[in-house]
Amino acid sequence: MYAYLFDSFLQERKYQHDIGQIENRLSTLGIQGKIEKMTILKNIQEAARQAIKRGVATLVVVGNDETITKVLPQIIDSDVTLGLIPLGPQQTIARALGIPDGVVACDVLSRRILRRLDLGRANAVYFLFNLVAPADVTVDCGGQYRVTSLDPAGSLMTANFPPAGTAGQPDDGRLELIVTPGRGARGWLPGRRSSGGSVFSITKAKFTSPAGPVNLTLDGQVTVKTPATVEVVRRKLEVIVGKDRAF
């Protein structure tokens, strides 16, 4: 049983044509289900909780990265499979999962290629894609070694979907810690000689900042303060993916 949650920003007139096409295509493919369109008075977190309570097997969110981030905490401890129909800007997660924009995504849903993905967790907050930290954070990796950036203008990221060229995968039980130098230093690019970037494969790490608590940003939306324990949670989320996925 499917349920479809449309994010509130899709009320804008410019999306109505796409939404009509999507509804028709879902019906044609025989994967229609209860459709709920969010408004300023109806939030997607509550709608997701209610759908799970009703016993849906597949919850499809229609929207962008922010929509997924809002729904993620509601479905983590359920057996629900997550599906996506990307509409609107900021589609980093959909790109990585190989889901095309708009009505074409319905065909990906109907093909139903399932992958069980790892999630990252910072203290008690989950993330699907990445965690970004300022460069002055020290990372203690499993109590064995510490990683410190020597470039105050750089940045630090823990990625579940690592950039192309690194060995990591979002279902390998590991996260990639990536330290990128700031301006003036050469950025990390696969195959480039003496690039300044760093990559570590980790399962658990503690993020601390000597200057006091700083914000870690999860999936570009949620923040968690240091000190934070960041770890991978293996195969926590089942997702429908496309054949053009990045892993």
Binding site: L150, D151, A167, R193, S195
Partner: protein, 127 residues
Amino acid sequence: MAMFQRDSGADVKDVETIIGATVKVEGNFVGTGDVVIEGHVAGTLKTSKNLRVGEQAVVKADVEAANVVVAGEIRGQVSCSGRVEILATGKIFGNVDTQTIAVAHGAILHGKVSMAGHETVEAKPGK
């Protein structure tokens, strides 16, 4: 054996760990994949695969790897189950335990070299 390419830095596609020039690592690093060091490492470093120490790298650690290419500096014991290659810019200040070794013209090696499978020959004083 997919050894690192000598002049192209490294074939980083399958490299598990890259320690860049702007990063310092302290402690006991243990990896299972290829490791490239361009920055600073202090403590110990162990991997079951290959290690490349870049030209600007400073490693103050005992290191253990399958194969080691040194273009920078290592201060510590080097243990290697395969081949150690010290390039012209490479420096090792410490003992080396390996199967085979290649030392380029201009490289610096201060330490005792032990090669597994080969008997140690004590130098006899001349008559």
